[in-house]
């Protein structure tokens, strides 16, 4: 895969030069008319933003009530001590993974096509982790004492149990958030400077200027920037694997049939990337149209994202198959019961829907024609998002509600608070995403200019191909992707 990059054709469609690239992306933020409610695109933006704003308000109300009343307002019970809270936590964390994969792993693999989607995929990562973090924080029941999860010297004789993956989660997720935020913020600096230089309003100039931290585009700045970016890329790469593996350990180290299975870590990671790409497509497809960015997020990008979604989806389905087969092969009646209960128990509908959404529907993407049909791709992405949520539903309450002893069985029924909190985090995600679209360039301007330089300004395409393969040995071997 790494060596494939030299054979990609142009990643920018249409007639562009440095100026038009900067203009087309920069004006989305700088041109006020784009956000004027009377313009067509402004109307769309304001509607989406208001939807998000509504969600945030709902979220605040529910959280307020939750803190006042306690987590009894949720549907969690015994035996289903984990319900919507953990489902949503895992779902949101998973969604963030596409951003990290695109920004870190594809960077190390020298996949240039990442350049037009990395910025907003990274933003999605950060916002998704924020939504995710709320759930376990509130599930502690006493969020004001959440700092007890950290090992700090204290007089309470409180020390986290380091054998518990729940504690690993605290470290994994907080590291993930910190690194993703730094990565994103660092990548923004050159573009913030561009916005500073092009902004007309004084306040914008000051704010962008402040955020650009004195960037002047000198060779020294670029040199430092490239180094720092690669280091953060290297740091982020293991996070793609580690964060969701640790999330999977939350379940797998237990003894519960349906949770305790060794395939969980790779299967969770693949599921996270699967759901993440579905969310990237969910946003990218409408937004590229609204802001006329089709030249930058091309059909080729959509095609590749669909292929990654298909491949990771198949890995996830391999995981379903393994669970099914080894439940039989284990020879254990508890394992067998768990899988039968999943498929034909009281929540059997969720398993059927999950298979429809994650196994059946994405197979449409085998067809190159369908991958070029935006409506179809968008619908498939929705199915995947729903399917991946259902997967966590099937894993969490459905495994919990009937464990070893029939006398301790029970049903799990989510309450209005569960639904409104889930809706609220979707609102928060929308709210943050549309604020991001409003104030920051959603596509990396300088990386698109770099891409333009590579594609169009190189003497000729053919000689470029060869040039790519004849980078000096010392540079390629000791260079970018160590």
């Amino acid at each position: 895969m790494p060596s494939h990059t030299g054979y990609q054709d142009n990643l920018i469609d249409g007639q562009h030069n440095y100026e038009t690239i900067t203009d087309r992306i920069g004006t989305v933020v700088l041109d006020q008319s784009k956000f004027n409610p009377n313009s067509e695109v402004g109307k769309k933006w304001i509607n989406a933003f208001l939807f998000g704003f509504l969600g945030v308000n709902v979220l605040m109300l529910v959280i307020g009530w939750l803190v006042y009343q306690g987590i009894g307002i949720w549907g969690n019970n015994q035996p289903s001590a984990w319900g919507f809270d953990i489902i949503n936590f895992v779902w949101w964390i998973g969604i963030g993974h596409a951003g990290t994969l695109i920004s870190a792993i594809l960077l190390l693999m020298r996949q240039k096509w990442r350049m037009s989607i990395n910025r907003f995929a990274e933003a999605m990562t950060i916002f998704a982790v924020m939504c995710a973090g709320l759930f376990p924080l509130l599930h502690t029941g006493r969020p004001w004492a959440a700092y007890w999860l950290f090992p700090y010297p204290n007089w309470l004789a409180m020390w986290p149990n380091f054998r518990s993956p729940l504690v690993w989660d605290v470290f994994a997720v907080s590291t993930y958030f910190t690194i993703s935020l730094l990565f994103w913020a660092l990548g923004l600096i050159p573009d913030l400077a561009t916005l500073r230089d092009r902004a007309k309003s004084k306040i914008a100039k000051i704010l962008y200027g402040f955020a650009a931290m004195g960037w002047n585009g000198s060779a020294k700045h670029w040199h430092r920037y490239e180094q720092a970016y690669l280091i953060l890329g290297g740091l982020s790469t293991p996070l793609v694997l580690s964060v969701h593996s640790i999330v999977s350990f939350d379940f797998a180290v237990s003894l519960l049939p349906g949770w305790h299975t060794t395939v969980f870590p790779p299967y969770f990671v693949a599921g996270a990337v699967f759901a993440g790409f579905a969310m990237v497509l969910t946003f990218a497809i409408p937004v590229r149209k609204w802001y006329k960015l089709e030249d930058f997020i091309t059909m080729r990008h959509i095609d590749w994202m669909c292929k990654i979604m298909l491949a990771t989806g198949l890995i996830v389905c391999y995981g379903y198959g393994c669970e099914l087969f080894y439940a039989y092969y284990s020879g254990s009646p508890d394992e067998k019961f768990m899988i039968m209960n999943r498929m034909a128990g009281p929540y059997g509908w969720s398993y059927v829907l999950l298979i429809v959404c994650n196994l059946a529907i994405p197979q449409i993407l085998w067809s190159p024609k369908m991958r070029q049909n935006l409506a179809v791709v968008w619908m498939v992405s929705q199915a995947v998002s729903i399917g991946m949520w259902l997967e966590r539903f099937v894993i969490i309450p459905v495994s919990l509600h009937r464990d070893f002893l029939p006398s301790s069985w029970g049903m799990y029924v989510p309450t209005w608070a569960d639904f409104s909190m889930f809706f609220g985090t979707i609102g928060l995600f929308f709210f943050l995403m549309f604020l991001f679209l409003r104030f920051l360039p959603m596509i990396s301007i300088f990386e698109m200019r770099e891409l333009y330089h590579r594609d169009k300004e190189a003497p000729s395409k053919n000689s470029h191909k060869h040039a790519h393969h004849h980078e000096p040995a010392a540079v390629t071997a000791g260079g970018d992707d160590q």
């Binding site: 593996s245 797998a252 299975t261 870590p265 198959g321 669970e323 080894y326 085998w366 004849h470």
Partner: protein, 388 residues
Amino acid sequence: MENANTLRLDKAAPLGGLLAIIGGVIMATTGTLWQSYIYGWLFMAGLTLGALGIVILHNVIRATWSLSILRLAEAAASPLSLFLMFLSWIPIATVGLKEIYLWADPVRSAGDHVLHNKAFFLNPSMFIGCSIAYFAFFIFMSNTLRKSTIRQDQNKDVTESQKRANIASPGLLAFAVVVTFAATHWAMSLEPHWFSTVYPLLSLIGQVNCAVAIATLILCVNANREPYKGIVNAKLTKDLGNILFATTMVWAYLTLSQFLIIWSGNLPEEVPYYRLRAELGWQFLGWILIWGRFFVPFFALLAPKTKRYANTMKWVCIWIILMHILDVFWLVVPGFERGGLFQSIRLGDVGALIGFFGLFLVGFSTEVKKAALVPTHDNRLRENLDHA
């Protein structure tokens, strides 16, 4: 421009045959015939299937690194090699079955209710029927893809690549599924009470890692000889090094995950697998694998300098191959319950390695001569050479 095949393998096939006979004699005379046989066979089967995995993967992703080792992988997983693997499987499925697999012996497994629960999958007819289906699938994939690349070398018909991708993409999926069942039947069921859902993936990644190491070793050793001269450059060795690095990491990741989950669960149906491997000296082998199979190649391949030169890469590859031999030993042999590690090292196992390596060599050296080592249907490697 035509690349004459200059790997000096003229005498390899007879040599391989001789090794197979020597190995067979050692195995037969040292008292651990069937245990050693299955160890050697699983080692060879793993290499062959690892190579087949690379061939199928290449036809999906068409990367340059996989192109450079395509012909070696194709030869290692050629229909002939797979057929030899099938032939050498016949004794396992017939005379050796009861000796090797507890579940196949009605006397030893009598009254075992766990085995009774899985008797539908673990019984001699199912084992034989399914294995024949696995082989049929492997041979079909290998034959179709290899014939097509050789045909395209001659007629330069670009539609062949697309045709291969159309077969290889669903083929990769089917390969994963078939390997899962095959790994369960052939290897996991050696300890029939134990199960782990990640085991097939774990064994596959180890095999692919070792197959890439062998192919890279051949490339690096012949770096100054035609047709590899000029093609094996710093960029290619770096790419291959990175693939070895990535597969090493995935191996460690899956190994750690499996261990951690089983250790913390501490369930009686799972934990004996590690219990067996944690005492009587076996723990030393475990430590050797942690350090040798992961940390050593990890740090070696992390350094850009290692990957820049064919000469250093060569040593890393040899190391990985040796560690893989130990890894398969660790997976297979403790299950025979011969006692501690030192009582378990038997001459028969060495004979098995020699014999099955010989058999592997027969298939590989016969097939590798039949096609240009640097494929001519895809010019990317040659372009490197022309502009060097």
